[in-house]
């Protein structure tokens, strides 16, 4: 089933070519991984797909819908949520408000309505409980530990009810116990029907978690396939070992 499809995506910053005519597709309903050495264009790829930066050229379609050139909030509404590489939460807001910010009222009446409605607060608590940070509901986000902030960011993304979730280094700077927890969550959420695209440097995590892997090197996909194939791919080894 076709999910996110990218054709001919290019982006350069001044002289640096971050993405060079990239065409990839990620199957819907799976846990996909995007790996590659530092500076290979993974984050730039996320930024282009989510509309945070405008690509120089290329087309982005999602489930048959053309998303090229749409502003970020429209892409979010099309069902694509994302986390940021260096975890981003709303620092001077409570944990609960962080989640309620992800609720997008459609009608004028809903926009004018109270932000702390009962149904939405309950839904937010559900996600906080699932992340195991429900006891921090009233704490200001900036006072949370790094790991708690990562969980909070994930809870916020989930609160916006995306079908597809792009995670940029979910295990970055996180202790091993929490890494396991995050992996378990991703698997569970995938089993519930959500598609993932995970950028990650932790190879154990990538190999054990993902169904489909795409490898970038210098803004260009050099390999793709299931973990077993990627593990033994010479070009991948070359890119990582700098051969």
């Amino acid at each position: 089933m076709s999910g996110l499809e990218i054709t001919g995506l290019s982006k350069s910053f001044g002289g640096v070519c971050a993405l060079d005519d990239v065409s990839v597709a990620f199957p819907h309903g799976k846990i996909n991984a995007l790996i590659g050495p530092n500076g290979s264009g993974k984050t730039t790829f996320f930024n282009c797909v989510t509309g945070m930066i405008r690509a120089d050229s290329g087309r982005i379609t999602y489930r048959g819908q053309d998303l090229t050139g749409r502003p970020p909030h429209r892409i979010a509404r099309a069902g694509i949520g994302r986390s940021f590489q260096l975890c981003r939460v709303f620092p001077r807001m409570t944990v609960l408000d962080n989640l309620l910010c992800a609720v997008q009222p459609r009608t004028l009446r809903a926009k004018a309505g109270r932000s702390h409605s009962r149904a939405e607060t309950e839904r937010a608590r559900h996600w906080l409980t699932r992340m195991g940070i429900d006891h921090l509901e009233r704490a200001e986000a900036q006072n949370l530990s790094w790991g708690q902030q990562k969980l909070l960011e994930l809870a916020g993304v989930l609160m916006s009810e995306p079908e597809t979730i792009l995670l940029d280094e979910p295990a970055g700077g996180v202790n091993p116990a929490l890494i396991d927890r995050i992996c378990a969550l991703v698997s569970e959420l995938n089993a519930e029907g959500r598609t993932f695209l995970v950028v990650e440097h932790n190879m154990d995590l990538v190999m054990s978690l993902s169904h489909h892997i795409v490898v970038f090197d210098r803004g260009w996909p050099i390999a793709e396939g299931p973990p077993s194939a990627i593990r033994s791919d010479e070009k991948v080894l070359g890119a990582y070992l700098g051969v």
Partner: protein, 386 residues
Amino acid sequence: MRSDSEPRTTTSGSRTGGGGRTGPLAAPIARHRVALGMKLLLYAVALTALFTFPDVAPSRYEVTVAITLLNYAVLATAWNFVGGFTGYISLGHGAFAGLGAYGTALLVVKAELPSFPALFAAAALVGLIAVPVGYAALRVRGASFVIVSIALVLVLLLVFQSWASFTGGSRGMVVPRPFPGMLRTEHHRVFYFLFAALLALALVTWWLIDRSRFGLGLKSIREDEDKAQALGTPTFAYKLVVFVVSAVFTALAGGLYALWFGDLDPVFQFSILSGAYMVLMALLGGVRHLYGPLLGALVVGYALEYSKLEYGDTPLHLVTAGLLLAVVVLFMPDGVIPAVRGLAARFLGGGQSSIREVTAAELLHGQRAAGSAAPPDSRTRKEVSS
């Protein structure tokens, strides 16, 4: 042994819970009550003072100062729709006040509209003008936005100064009084209450937005605009809407001032200074709080009026304003209200110096509550099994 230890721990558990009601558990509730009581008292005092002031004021002069302060309060609160919610610092809001003032004056003089319909029509027009202005200005963030907002005032100043045939140019413009036969004292009294009503309207609107989903969206823009977008918030539309609301309230204040004062000078109407005062007042009071700008307006406005009275029309009031700004930025980056709240909390023995402590206290509170509600809790069982 088992049957013995279980009830004992249970009773001791409920005893700490019961004891808590008068001891540690009662503290947050009592503090809450005290805070609520103080709040109600403050409201009562403030409202009484507001309503009786024109009658008890020693002379007409005090009433005019009060009107000036109320005008500042409306302006600062209006500014805070943009500055407080979205974090965009506009130094150009003086332009909307000036447009409101000139719009009202021109509609009265040239179009011969009655005063108050002219005021509302002018505010509506400014709202319309704010759409393209906001559309252009809100595309840039941070310092760039500040500079664009300054440019807006300067352009309008040039226009209104040079377009003499229409606006009276640099000689200014006389606005007919709305109640021609009325005595001076009564005129001031009426405008005192009109400004108070406008302030109330602005505060209620701010409060309504503050508690709404729209308001939370705006605040998420202030915190991290990219993140807000990634979560699906239509940030640009939100900013534009609140910018227009802010411009309309600013214009209403400017127009009401024109009707009250009766004399307009483009140099004062379109000065960066008036925009800078709004920023200073809001920052001083605290932009995250409903009453922050109001409080800041009272402090700054009073200081300005006082230095004008004592030292005449020297640049000294500018020095006063500059000093106040320095104090705020250095010592109270969040404004007076949070600073005072922090002090009050310490004074009441809460020790609420950081959110972390509050959560820790609440955690404990929650655990205690759970402990007393369900006596054979996990603690008891653990003791039994061990």
